[in-house]
């Protein structure tokens, strides 16, 4: 989608929510079409073999093929009105090869044996053309073929089986609660995604996967007409690797405290009521006094700080320089990893990479180059111990296997290294959020994610949030506004002094983690329990124009 469209949507108060325009994401279809299974797996195997055999016969030493059917549905509303119901399907084939030691890629949305053979031929031609300017041949980590296998996101109910009317009714109900609560505007949306991916490679794998994701969200806006000031509060939901069951909460899924937060399931109607009350408070809140504060960060906020400051710098493609022209490189250079004593964070900080966690956006059985997924440590007792790698990088960090981090946003895009779920492990000692706050003299408790920005090597970051509560002498002393904190990644994680126990552990995440040229989106989750960081620099963001 055009940046311009995104900016306009942002201006409407949808915040970071990215709503793709239709044609870019697929062909509009009748929603009943979502209920058919697509083409038979036997036929997919035949088509895949055409790609692999053609590539080999043209001189490829390796080839993989992805036959993808991507379904998505967006139901978008504002106030009492449905703005858009988009049902889209995208179907096609992407073929990646190595020829003359160089990668080549081509894709087609004509899913016939002839068109696939032609695309395979084109991919080999691209590889051969590029090999003229390549001196180091691609070196792939060995990968055994799995034969014919399959994997499916463990969902209770596919969002695509729920009638559109039910989704519209839910959202209009959400909007009605906000408007009755005095909101001037409310935007809400449900986004459902299903990736049906068939992968085959010359290693002998034929992998059929069915992946589901869901994201319900809203933004409530209130305007103080007298002053012309406005404030918003976004939902505390999270995009998830789940079916529609995410929207059927029970009391067990609710985390009490200053505002209800949600674990594994989400109560949209309750949250919008709370959000509407929060916006009132935000309009009246005290503007923050800049200075050093101890920060107590809720998982609904901390996921984004983990994403930017831990997950991105441990991406091996950045470390090696493959993203230097766009997303950037990383301060976590190989020498720091090799030293085995680079203190990324305090001893409390343990960060795990994971492609299996149930309910997470990154959970799949196999990655997009046919590697079975797993879990590994990135930061152990505060020390950098590992990265995120794919097959052509594994040898660089002495691994004899890929870590399964390869992903492409669609059949039409070439797969490359993308982050798995990266999560901060809960504290090992029993510690509640209330007990954590009791020990804070001068602090800010932050809930929900807001503005975010970090440099191209991931040293210096700045984060906002949804709601900010002043902590004075161990007690919550009311709401603050105009808050953003700035820190250096290593100093910040070394200032981590307390992590709540596993009873507080929750996932946050994003559908739109961007990287690569041309740009691609990745969906990923980050878990944590509420965590405290001491003496962080807070700025006041209020300005006058």
């Amino acid at each position: 989608m055009k940046r311009k469209d995104f900016i306009q949507l942002s201006a409407m108060g949808l915040g970071a929510l990215v709503l793709p325009n239709l044609p870019a994401f697929g062909t509009p279809v009748d929603p009943s079409r979502f209920l058919n299974d697509g083409i038979d797996v036997k036929l997919k195997k035949q088509l895949a073999d055409v790609a692999l055999n053609t590539a080999r016969s043209k001189g490829a030493t390796y080839a993989d093929v992805r036959i993808g059917r991507y379904l998505n549905q967006f139901v978008v509303t504002r106030e009492a009105r449905v703005q858009n119901i988009a049902n889209a399907e995208s179907f096609g084939v992407g073929i990646r090869v190595i020829a003359n030691g160089c990668w080549g890629f081509a894709a087609t949305n004509t899913v016939t044996k002839e068109a696939i053979a032609k695309a395979a031929e084109r991919a080999v031609a691209v590889a051969k053309a590029n090999s003229r300017v390549t001196t180091t041949p691609v070196q792939l980590a060995p990968q055994k073929g799995y034969g014919e296998v399959s994997w499916k996101t463990p969902i209770v109910q596919s969002a695509f089986t729920i009638p559109v009317k039910d989704k519209v009714d839910l959202l209009l109900n959400v909007n009605s609660i906000a408007m009755k609560g005095g909101a001037n505007f409310v935007n809400s949306a449900i986004l459902a995604i299903n990736e049906q991916k068939y992968f085959a490679s010359t290693d002998g794998s034929y992998i059929d996967q069915d992946i589901h994701r869901l994201f319900p969200t809203f933004t409530v806006t209130k305007i103080d007409r007298a002053s012309g000031k406005f404030e918003t509060r976004k939902s505390l939901s999270s995009p998830v690797g789940m079916g529609y069951e995410y929207l059927t909460p029970t009391a067990d899924n609710k985390v009490g405290g200053i505002v209800t937060r949600y674990k594994d399931r989400y109560d949209m109607l309750e949250d919008v009521k709370n959000a509407t009350a929060d916006v009132d408070q935000k309009l009246k809140a005290k503007s923050v006094e800049p200075g050093k504060y101890d920060l107590v960060l809720d998982p609904s906020h901390l996921w984004l700080t983990i994403h930017e400051s831990v997950a991105h710098p441990t991406e091996l493609d950045r470390v090696l320089g493959y993203e230097a022209n766009y997303a950037g490189t990383s301060f976590l250079t190989l020498d720091k990893w090799k030293s085995r004593n680079f203190q990324f964070g305090s001893k409390l900080v343990n960060v795990v990479a994971d492609k299996l966690q149930p309910g997470s956006l990154g959970a799949v059985g196999y990655d997009d180059e046919g590697v079975q997924c797993g879990q590994w440590d990135l930061i152990k007792d505060g020390v950098l111990v590992n990265y995120q790698a794919i097959r052509d990088q594994a040898h660089i960090i002495g691994l004899d296997h890929s870590q399964g981090c390869c992903y492409a946003q669609s059949w039409a895009d070439v797969q490359f290294q993308r982050m798995p779920n990266v999560s901060l492990q809960p504290g090992k000692e029993k510690l509640s959020v209330d007990d954590m706050i009791k020990n804070v003299e001068k602090g800010i408790y932050i809930i929900g994610d807001g503005s975010f920005s970090i440099d191209q090597q991931r040293y210096n970051f700045q984060f906002g949030g949804q709601t900010f509560y002043e902590i004075k002498d161990g007690k919550i002393a009311g709401m603050l506004k105009d808050v953003a904190y700035q820190a250096n990644t290593q100093e910040f994680w070394n200032s981590c002094t307390a992590i709540a126990d596993k009873s507080d552990y929750r996932l946050g995440g994003a559908f739109n983690d961007g990287k690569g040229q041309p740009g691609q989106s990745n969906a990923v989750s980050h878990g944590s329990s509420t965590t405290r960081f001491n003496g962080v620099n807070v700025i006041n963001t209020a300005r006058k124009i």
């Binding site: 691209v126 993203e323 230097a324 700045q462 006058k544």
Partner: protein, 445 residues
């Protein structure tokens, strides 16, 4: 499918419309071809080629709208997509903001965005360009990461009230980041053109290489308010946010930097320095853009900011009708006027200041003041008494383009630049601005 000519597009769309049984029907065709090559660590990394075409049919019964698309063009497929759009329209809820389709429009001449040499670029051309670039970086013991992408496309629309619009365009887009082998210096250059003959990969690589070498050994200076010279590639990422926020509806609803107390807007008010004039012009010879927007409205030359005063906002057709004003569409690109000074002249006239090559990771902090945060990157230098004294460590800034354009000291000669954030082009000058707000230092190189 090859890129459609005006005549071929017209014939195809006429045929599609003939199948329509809806109250209103609008059909659009897009056909495009693009190729790219990416390199890093002085080697080609990934590359790809993509051809796509799509026919979009929107059918309406009353205020119920359905849209369907297809990429097959035989008669049976064309009829099928029209029927599908009609079925979806019958199922759709009424849209109270639905606007009847437009009748025939006057679009002015084709804007000349198509160049046959750019349209003819092939993988060998791209590989040669990479080879030229790498020759320079390897000779200088530097490390390049770059991206070259070319595209050719045509689009056309026609509707049941007789509207027909057509546009074709080409573009080549090149960007390069050059780093020193030890990672202590980094430089950047980026360019976009419709006409490939203007692209000079070697020159851009040399500029990025000089900045990489020149930025080694950066010194830390205290964050604070500084006079800055933003090169066009740095300024564009903030000014595009300003232009992207000039929607009339948001302003009138009270949730934009153009909103005022009591539901009023700042239209007609002076918010910026006298030197600031920003307009859009589809026929600008250095940056031709489409002469129509995606709902068929003509794109005209429009002044958005004139001598610091907000002259126009853009409207959806629905909102314009409600306000009873002309429905000016949002622009495809913007042009900011400047002066005749070169970047070197701006540096020479600066007693103390910071030269910024690129701004990065731009995110909104406060939509009310249009406050954004982000960082400098790939070549930041300290100027004293008219000369570049030394490279400085990168800064984080928190600044609003509205405030920044109120603090203009001098504007240089405008040139076409491309945003490293959105990939969109604009024409704008290098600009010297006082009191630009840097809030912290970054160790990033």
């Amino acid at each position: 499918m090859p890129i459609l000519t005006k005549e071929a597009a017209q014939a195809l769309l006429k045929k599609v419309l003939a199948y329509s049984k809806a109250d209103e029907c609008e059909v659009s065709i897009y056909s495009g071809d693009s190729g790219n090559v990416r390199y890093a660590r002085n080697e080609v990394s990934t590359s790809g080629a993509n051809s796509k075409s799509m026919l979009v049919v929107s059918s309406a019964f009353g205020k119920k709208l359905g849209t369907a698309t297809i990429n097959e063009f035989d008669d049976a497929s064309l009829e099928k997509v029209v029927r599908r759009a009609e079925e979806l329209a019958r199922l759709a809820p009424e849209n109270p903001e639905y606007m009847p389709i437009l009748g025939p429009q006057q679009y002015g001449e084709a804007s000349g965005g198509y160049n046959k040499d750019t349209a003819a670029i092939d993988p060998a051309f791209r590989a040669d360009a990479v080879a030229k670039s790498l020759t320079i970086t390897k000779q200088n013991k530097l490390v390049a990461a770059g991206f070259l992408e070319n595209s050719v496309a045509s689009s056309a629309m026609m509707n049941s009230k007789g509207l027909f619009a057509y546009n074709s365009s080409t573009e080549i887009n090149f960007s390069i980041t050059v780093r020193s082998e030890d990672g202590t210096g980094s430089g950047y250059a980026s360019k976009a053109y419709n006409d490939v003959s203007k692209l000079d990969v070697s020159k851009d690589t040399s500029i990025a290489s000089q900045k990489a070498t020149g930025s080694k050994g950066a010194k830390a200076i205290e964050p604070g308010k500084y006079t800055v010279i933003l090169e066009p590639a740095a300024a564009i990422v903030l000014i595009e946010q300003l232009i992207g926020s000039m929607d009339a509806r948001s302003a009138e609803e009270g949730r934009s930097f153009l909103s005022k107390a009591g539901g009023k807007t700042k239209l007609g008010e002076k918010l910026m320095d006298d030197q600031v004039t920003i307009y859009s012009d589809p026929w600008h010879p250095d940056m031709p853009t489409s002469c129509y927007n995606n709902d068929g409205r003509p794109q005209e030359k429009i002044t958005w900011i004139e001598k610091g005063t907000v002259k126009n906002m853009y409207y959806s057709r629905y909102w314009a009708q409600k306000d009873n004003v002309k429905a000016i569409p949002s622009p495809d690109a913007f042009i900011m006027e400047g002066g005749t000074a070169s970047l070197e002249d701006l540096i020479k006239s600066t007693e103390k200041g910071i030269l910024v090559t690129r701004l990065w990771y731009i995110r909104p902090v406060d939509p009310q003041t249009l406050l954004f945060t982000g960082l400098t990157r790939d070549g930041t230098f300290y100027i004293e008494n008219g000369v570049i004294k030394h490279p400085v460590k990168n800064f984080r800034f928190n600044e609003s383009p509205v405030i920044m354009l109120n603090n203009v000291e001098a504007l240089g000669r405008p040139e076409r630049a491309v945003s490293g954030e959105s990939n969109q082009s604009a024409i704008l000058p290098p600009m010297k601005l006082r009191d630009f707000t840097f809030t912290s230092l970054s160790d990033a190189i």
